[in-house]
């Protein structure tokens, strides 16, 4: 009888503490960020706390820049920028696909398969370097490359200039944007860059939760959030409101691609790629620089086991996640992914 009583008391305690810890997790994460448990990050790591989706810095200048944005938007969708007249920037960065293209690798000029996966341009204003391998230092510089690349848009700036200068409405658009009718490569790429900086994610359920809707996340997603910050060590690289440290890492997926090494020529940068934002990650697969990862649970499992090729970053360590924990993490990745914002495509000049 006494034994039964002890068992009864004990199981009661277990049930009580379980429900308490569940409630606790929701309460903790509903509270001020300063009261959140410290994330599990390695000592060498500079991290920022997760947070609400930040506004693009262009947002505050939207009025004064509206004509530059309008021009950039038009150019972004104009196939005149390509040699074949069939490809625009939006071919590989489609608004309805969260501004990626859903392909392993993008298809360029005359069916040419590109070297890497097309990343989303959402929140790209944040990156200090552009391209998976960081070879561009800003969006304007980046915009030159696909236009001139023989496998992507297969064009030449002089040809693009010639085509655009024939179009009267472009003269008007350039004049409104820059004060006179001059059409040149610097203005073209600048307008595209400014437009790209206006493209951001829609707020996700995670943002709704942070902004006070305590019910915006399920229990599983909340556990996922906690795991993301703690046991799963995701914040070693994916920290801050945009879930990226803006750095380069070899996460073990580099394959034969030298990545950032080709830019810096430093041995330690071999196989490193830019940490992508995880905003909308469940909408922007297939994943990694080469688009070879098609299945998120298997990516999580690879990080869990840290059973990745040599040369990987020391920040990637075995995690010992249970099946439920892996599911919770996946649920959280869904909670930070949202449908793209509505977007009105521009009318292209005749």
């Amino acid at each position: 009888m006494k034994k039964l009583f002890v068992i009864f008391l004990f199981s009661g305690l277990v049930v009580f503490s379980l429900s308490f810890s569940k409630k606790n997790l929701r309460d903790i994460y509903s509270g001020p960020v300063s009261d959140w448990p410290a994330p599990f990050v390695d000592e060498s790591v500079k991290w920022n706390e997760l947070g609400v989706l930040p506004e693009s810095p262009v947002e505050k200048q939207r009025d004064s820049l509206k004509h530059v944005i309008e021009l950039g938007k038009t150019l972004f969708f104009d196939t005149r920028l390509s040699g074949s007249g069939k490809i625009s920037c939006a071919t590989c960065h489609q608004p309805a696909l969260n501004w990626a293209d859903g392909k392993e690798k993008s298809i360029g000029h005359e069916g040419a398969i590109n070297k890497r996966n097309s990343p989303t341009i959402q929140n790209s204003w944040f990156y200090k370097r552009l391209f998976w391998d960081g070879r561009s230092s800003d969006l304007q510089d980046q915009a030159f490359a696909p236009i001139n690349s023989e496998t992507e848009m297969h064009s030449e700036m002089p040809d693009v200039m010639r085509k655009l200068r024939k179009v009267n409405s472009y003269k008007e658009l350039f004049k409104k944007a820059f004060g006179d009718e001059q059409i040149d490569p610097d203005r073209l790429t600048e307008a595209i860059a400014v437009f790209e900086k206006t493209i951001v994610s829609r707020k996700s359920r995670f943002d709704n939760f942070l902004e006070g809707n305590k019910k915006a996340l399920t229990n599983s997603e909340l556990r996922g959030l906690h795991l993301f910050r703690t046991k799963a060590k995701c914040m070693n690289c994916h920290s801050g409101p945009l879930f990226t440290d803006n750095q380069f890492h070899n996460s073990g997926f580099s394959g034969n691609d030298d990545g950032y090494y080709k830019v810096t020529h430093k041995e330690e940068d071999m196989g490193k790629f830019k940490t992508p934002s995880l905003r909308d990650v469940m909408k922007t697969g297939p994943w990694m620089h080469d688009g070879l990862q098609k299945d998120m649970p298997s990516i999580i499992e690879k990080f869990n086991k840290a059973d990745l090729p040599a040369g990987k970053d020391k920040l990637i360590q075995p995690l010992g996640l249970t099946k439920r924990e892996k599911n919770d993490l996946l649920a959280f990745l869904h909670a930070i992914s949202a449908e793209p914002l509505e977007f009105q495509k521009p009318d292209l000049p005749e």
Partner: protein, 158 residues
Amino acid sequence: MKKLFFTLVIAGLGFIANAQPPAGDAKPGEWYGEKVSTEGAVDLNDVVKKLNGGSMFPEVKIKAKITEVCPKKGCWLKLELEDGETAMVKMKDYGFFLPLAAKGKTVIIDGEVNLKTTSVAELKHYAEDAKKTKEEIDAIKEPKKEVKVMAKGIVIVE
């Protein structure tokens, strides 16, 4: 005044156009794009002699001297040919750039060599980039047969 306003708006955001070639001394041994070994390189002139209308060498390692580097971005080069002409080099995937200091250096380039016709518009654009005078630019009226090189990797040798 209006123009000043535009300039200020753009400059204030840090979007001012500042395309420029990468910094660097282009010392022997420095490389760009794919890392290239110096073994098995042949003189560009020998390759050009074997080129005739439309033919190409898809994979060849050439040795040549740089006579010009794109002053705006370092995205194209010109190489010296013994007939007084030059060969035009572009980088694969528009993926890498050379510093201005590479001018006058001898390099080994791994890539593709072919004979192509360059349009008048393109020739004029390159002339503009090279800050040629208006008269020189206007004088360009004929398309040009040109040896073109698509470089995967470049290493400075001397």
